[in-house]
Homo-oligomer: 342 residues x 2
DNA sequence: TTGTACGCGTTATCAT
DNA sequence: ATGATAACGCGTACAA
């Protein structure tokens, strides 16, 4: 059923080797042979077999992108950038979704897919030290996000702690004195926003403000609903113990918090200032618009793809591999209505 | 470098055939042989070669998902569902992004990737009659969204016209008399929201209201910014010619329109009612919350994957293929604050 | 129950 | 410049 190079060769009256040469644009082929072969390809509707080519070449032309949830805007933007950048370089992208499940993360790195793809870009939620440790000889992995590569694998991210500190400092500088944090996570579970929590604490301390545990709300996840509930918990502290500013570890959390503020009749930013993290477009359209720490997501994606491709190339060559890198990408504190000075 | 079945066989003291049997869980293998082979696999770190297997089997285990933009929430949700469902059935998903470019759509369907994947789920923006027409013998395609398959390929979607009519009727029933439409598109370009515009028009006519061309704003695309600009254009019509209700072809357009209303001091829903389309979670959190036509997106994704898999199976078998189907999925009109009766 | 041998469609080496 | 031929790693018909 499928038409092969041999079929094309027969019709064009040449050998299969010549067809391969034409397909791969080998330089030394006479013009009329090219024409005959091209005609035969058209006529027969020949398409190269990706499987055969990968088997022969040992390269699949595929990268793997592993994220928790594709429909979380931050990951969606990341995916956009990765797919775009990979396509420009002639690579396809297999997307996998872990739904926050460590087992799925493991499978993505150790299962057959990891071998099928030439490399993996992973936005991990769980701790992965063990996985990476066993990963010797596997196809290369580039980490994106908060989890660092610990010298084992390349990592692309921003300085989460510095960014969180800057956001918190901004809240303090606009006159807030009781600044809360939403987004840390229950003790022994995923330590998602650990670095951001640390930055928050540092900024507070630098400003001579107390670090108040009651103002740190741990959430199971980073969705709008979690922010909504966390904010409700903060408001339940009562008028005098309530925060007058909140730094949220993600924009989605902040948008949820914003909703609770609205439904509770708490005015933003006059009674309560809010800053998120991620730089989502949604925050430009919320009411009030949302202040946020905006990482250069397109750049993160671009650098991740390039780093992965570089490592693939290095591994293909005989040269010994360069050591794993931690690359920091720029971010911006974007001040909007939700944290204007009062 | 890569370890093959032959390597494993040598170490386990069996033939390659036996290794293959163990890997594929062939029923009739003695227990101790299984143990020896398994041990050898572990020790050597053997991983099956996906390339060799696809070549041999003629199946890659990959589906292709083609969408305009991964970070548009509607497509992100679709991608989530497709990837989830495909994974459950043992298929990987290659994601491609057309960025609205017809050339890229064509390439996704006719390029090598189309052959690599066993089938394609396509959310097309351009007209694709020509592409589908030439697609005889290619791997199967399932269409998602507004563009129908015209009997050539399977199509999964909702009844866009009925849904748009229901949304418009709802606006009329809450007392709006000048109902506008945002989202049609410039004449000869993509006819993105054609069906939804038709439903809008039908509902107006049924209600005995005039179809006023000045209340139809055509947008280049379906993003927040387009909605923002379109709404500004509507408000510029002046106090007496302005609409008192707007049906937007997507939620993103509606959220943009909402922003313009807010910055222009137009009260929603009292002065202006708004209904979107897509059922995005973002609309549950906007201020005011957004009424919307919500298709069952998870179901669309699920049915799309199943339909594609069924067609792949049918094509593999000798049976002649069943005719292409148009499958309609349920939708819901979700009324929220933006269109409450005044 | 297991071993032998062949072919899937390509690319690449060796000749010519 | 092009033709014959050998791998690439795996699944399976056939044989034992």
């Amino acid at each position: 059923m499928p038409v092969t190079q041999a079929d094309v060769a027969r019709r064009a009256g040449v050998s299969q080797r010549t067809v391969s040469n034409v397909v791969n644009k080998f330089p030394h082929v006479s013009a009329d042979v090219v024409a005959r072969v091209t005609e035969a390809i058209e006529a027969l509707g020949y398409t190269p077999s990706h499987a055969a080519r990968s088997l022969r070449l040992g390269r699949s032309g595929l990268l793997q992108l592993v994220v928790p949830e594709l429909d979380v805007p931050y990951f969606a933007e990341l995916a956009r950038g990765v797919v775009k950048c990979a396509e420009e370089r002639g690579f396809g992208v297999m997307v996998r979704q872990t739904l926050g499940d460590r087992e799925r993360e493991r499978d993505a790195l150790e299962g057959p897919a990891a071998e099928h793809a030439e490399g993996t870009i992973l936005s991990a939620v769980g701790s992965i030290e063990d996985i990476l440790a066993t990963g010797r000889g596997r196809s290369p992995v580039v980490l994106i996000g908060e989890r660092t590569g610990m010298g084992l694998v390349d990592h692309i991210g921003i300085d989460d702690t510095a960014a969180a500190a800057e956001a918190t400092r901004h809240l303090v500088e606009t006159g807030r004195r009781r600044v809360a944090f939403i987004g840390a996570d229950p003790a022994d579970s995923l330590r998602m926003a650990e670095l951001r929590l640390r930055g928050y604490e540092q900024a507070l301390t630098s400003a001579g403000l107390p670090f108040d545990e009651t103002l740190v709300v741990r959430t199971r996840s980073y969705h709008r609903k979690d922010g909504e509930e966390a904010m409700a918990a903060l408001l339940a502290l009562g008028p005098d113990r309530r925060p007058d500013g909140v730094f949220c570890a993600t924009d989605l959390l902040a948008l949820g918090a914003l909703r609770t503020a609205r439904t509770s009749g708490v005015a933003v930013p006059t009674e309560l200032a809010l800053v998120g993290f991620d730089g989502l477009e949604e925050g430009e359209y919320s009411a009030p618009t949302l202040s946020t720490v905006a990482p250069d997501k397109a750049e993160i994606a671009r650098v991740a793809v390039e780093t992965l491709l570089a490592r693939i190339a290095a591994r293909a060559g005989v040269e010994d591999e360069p050591p794993a890198q931690d690359l920091l990408i720029a971010f911006d504190l974007v001040v909007r209505e939700s944290s204007r000075a009062v």
